[in-house]
Symmetry: C2
Subunit: 477 residues, 2 copies
């Protein structure tokens, strides 16, 4: 084209904007019809100087990356097998007499939340230490029954669980790279309805604990004697492909193990067979504690690696929320968060809800629960309804995780692996904490489950753990 | 901008092309770096003038649209329940003595394909009409055992099935809008392995037929007596949400019914319980014939509507492929197609494969199989591997279907309903025929299943049916 042009200053007719940080600027350009690419960015650690320095220390150290890679490898390649079921007193290590193991960090009776108190009372009665829940309450209040965190005994328990020495425990073994296998434990799932793990202390809830002890535990032990060990996470991976997140939804994996065990259930002794079949056939949550025990067996092995920034314990007791990182015994504890993004049963709402509770958040550390939400239509219902909402939960974990599962593949996300290995550094840097899919218990009435939703882990304990790790590194040098 | 320009003819620097029809023009533009939007279009009915006139007749007639809407409604809202299991002789209507019911359109022994012949021999031995398969072959060859298409007896049978009067049949009832329920039938699934429906005539295959008759049929009948009727498609819909297409993959629905029936299995009499549990626990295909019987109960009700262009029968016998539309008794039959998009077991290939076989294509008429592929990671493996490939199969059905299921929702496709009601007019107009997800049998060795894949229904019978329908409409006026 030919032509001449005078020295005229021309304003651009077309504006393209790259906006970083606060979204309000992007919105203003968009409102005026301009093209804008918004980058969701915040200053690392919200600009907290001490945390930024801690991040610098931990990022600069190649030993941390090496340790993290090993932790991620262990979380990914461990093969935990369910080998038997036995009373806690016979298998759980370091278990003192007349002790209940409870969910979450250590806590004294005076601070125990209402649903967990009820569960403790029900367990105290089921153990025969008290004739009724009134007597149980008095025993517990005066310290005649000891309380210890299940996590300190290689054990994880869901929701408001408190378990006594007669509780039948799933025994899961992870051979690791050889040597003695890492053994982890979880109770048989109590099932839906009027049950102690939902914070109920009725006669039916106590009766369910006796059924587990007298029928369900011996039944699963007999099945495993015949069927042999169960590769817990192989079946879980099939369940994930069928839409389970294995935390809020465990239907597919429960049905897979039901089918797998069916020929062995059919030849159980008469006194076990029918009641166990009623229990299992009516319990779509059965696989939850299998997955939890397997996750604990992975994290136990991973936690042996020193000097990593990967979280290997995450647990709540309805009062406090705590984490540990690999290679340390120190818990970093803060207040338990509320459960948000919640759907409540009719007639209930946020005012009725107890705070986030249970050891099941161990699942979120190994690629299940929130990290697997992206393929779960059922979980999507709690996250906005669309599969894109569910995918966003998985993507959130990708931003704070150091690795990807080769075991749990998500068809709806291009068959990509779910994220594994929550890295303290990434959590503090991005301000994104793990989102945990979970049930909601009534906070004071003893009515049990009143809904389900998503709990966002509190930032404070991650920051505290990061500071402590960085201080430790500085001392080492 | 200012400037002057001489009268120069300028070639455009930027070309945007909209290409309709043959893709080669679009490719040529693209090869030269041009922008092109390609619209995949073909002349209706490939430009066949007689077919175009037939389409005009059937499109112009509002009675056809009304009939089609009613057919789609019936396919969508019918609620078929499994009510009992009983020997074919006791429940299947119009069943003459010494007769085998076989898959697909009517066929004489001389044209029966090898796998179906083997299945017929196995059934003849299992019925006690012959001492061994050699004698069975002679009886069949001289017409001493009659052959009738299962579809003519409100029955559908999968793959190379041939069933005798002692076969235990699933009895499914669809109450429709009231009056006598529509009853449809399908055999209990024989399971994977050395079985007659896969075209095997070994002693093990015969023994499996006896096990079904003596153990599995009575067991399911006893379970239903206690458990009550089973809403077959409610469970199927849950299975679809968990990645079943209910044709090639039936794992989730099978596990759901296993779990549902577990308490009743546990109290079966000793002589039934253990062998039935082994059969069911080892049979991920169990739900296939339940879904087929339910689909048949829907299409029987739909087929009562006169003057529709919706396909209500689609069946193959390994030699011929046939369809019927609602309101008529006439089959339109052509050669059975090969199974394409196939994955073969190691050591097998297309030369070993029998053509497409079985009545299971009834599933594709009610929103299962191909129409539900878009949410099935397992089926995706046969269609290219990605969920987008699977979605394309569902989209293909959308282009030839008159409606959408409100029952079968596909989470991976935005929770949209699967397409239902294959409309002859749309098939002929677009040239797209139903794609049927199916197993592949060995064509002559008697080795049974050698792979699985997708069969594309042949165009010819759809065109023939359309011509006949249009001719009928012209005569009516």
């Amino acid at each position: 084209m030919t032509g001449t042009t005078a020295n005229v200053v021309r304003l651009p007719e077309r504006v393209e904007v790259l906006n970083i940080g606060l979204p309000m600027f992007a919105e203003a350009v968009r409102a005026q019809g301009g093209q804008v690419l918004h980058v969701d960015w915040r200053p690392p650690a919200d600009g907290d100087r001490e945390l930024v320095r801690a991040l610098e220390v931990l990022h600069a150290d190649p030993a941390v990356d090496r340790a993290n890679a090993e932790v991620v490898r262990r979380l990914d390649v461990g093969v935990p097998s369910l080998v038997t079921v036995a009373p806690a007193a016979e298998v759980v290590p370091r278990l003192p007499e007349r002790t209940l193991l409870h969910c979450g960090p250590a806590i004294g009776w005076d601070r125990v939340c209402d649903p967990l108190r009820r569960s403790m009372r029900a367990a105290t009665v089921a153990e025969g230490w008290a004739a009724d829940v009134g007597e149980a309450d008095r025993l517990l209040a005066r310290g005649d029954v000891a309380l210890q965190p299940a996590n300190e005994h290689d054990t994880v328990v869901p929701m408001a669980s408190a378990i006594g020495p007669s509780s039948p425990m799933l025994v899961v073994e992870n051979p690791g790279d050889g040597g003695a296998p890492r053994r982890a434990f979880a109770p048989l799932n109590q099932g839906p309805g009027e049950t102690a793990w939902f914070g109920r202390d009725t006669e039916a809830a106590v009766e369910r604990l006796r059924l587990l002890r007298d029928v369900c535990g011996p039944a699963v032990a007999a099945i495993l004697d015949r069927a042999g060990p169960l590769d817990v996470l192989a079946l879980a991976a099939q369940g994930v492909a069928m839409g389970d997140d294995l935390h809020m939804r465990t239907q597919a994996a429960t049905n897979l193990v039901t089918r797998t065990w069916l020929p062995h259930i059919a030849v159980l002794p008469d006194e076990l067979r029918a009641p166990f079949a009623r229990y299992l056939g009516g319990n779509h949550l059965f696989y939850l504690t299998l997955a939890m025990a397997a996750a604990k067996a992975l994290t136990l092995w991973a936690a042996e690696v020193p000097g990593s920034t990967i979280v290997t314990s995450m647990a709540r007791n309805g009062t406090t929320f705590g984490i540990r990182t690999s290679g340390t015994d120190t818990w970093y504890v803060t207040d338990a968060p509320p459960v948000g993004d919640a759907l409540y049963y009719a007639g209930y709402g946020p005012d009725d809800a107890a705070p986030d509770i249970g050891d099941s958040a161990v699942l979120e550390l190994v690629g299940l629960g929130g990290p697997a939400a992206g393929n779960s239509p059922s979980v999507a219902a709690f996250l906005g309804g669309s599969m894109a909402d569910a995918a966003a939960a998985t993507e959130g974990f990708r931003r704070i995780c150091a690795g990807t599962s080769s075991r749990f593949q998500l068809p709806a996300m291009g068959f990509s692996g779910s994220p594994i290995g929550v890295d303290l550094r990434l959590v503090v840097e991005t301000g994104i904490t793990p989102k945990v899919t979970t049930g909601i218990l009534h906070g004071h009435s003893g009515e049990g489950q009143v809904g389900a939703g998503v709990a966002t882990a509190p930032q404070a304990c991650f920051a505290e753990a990061l500071r402590a790790l960085a201080a430790g590194r500085r001392r080492d040098r």
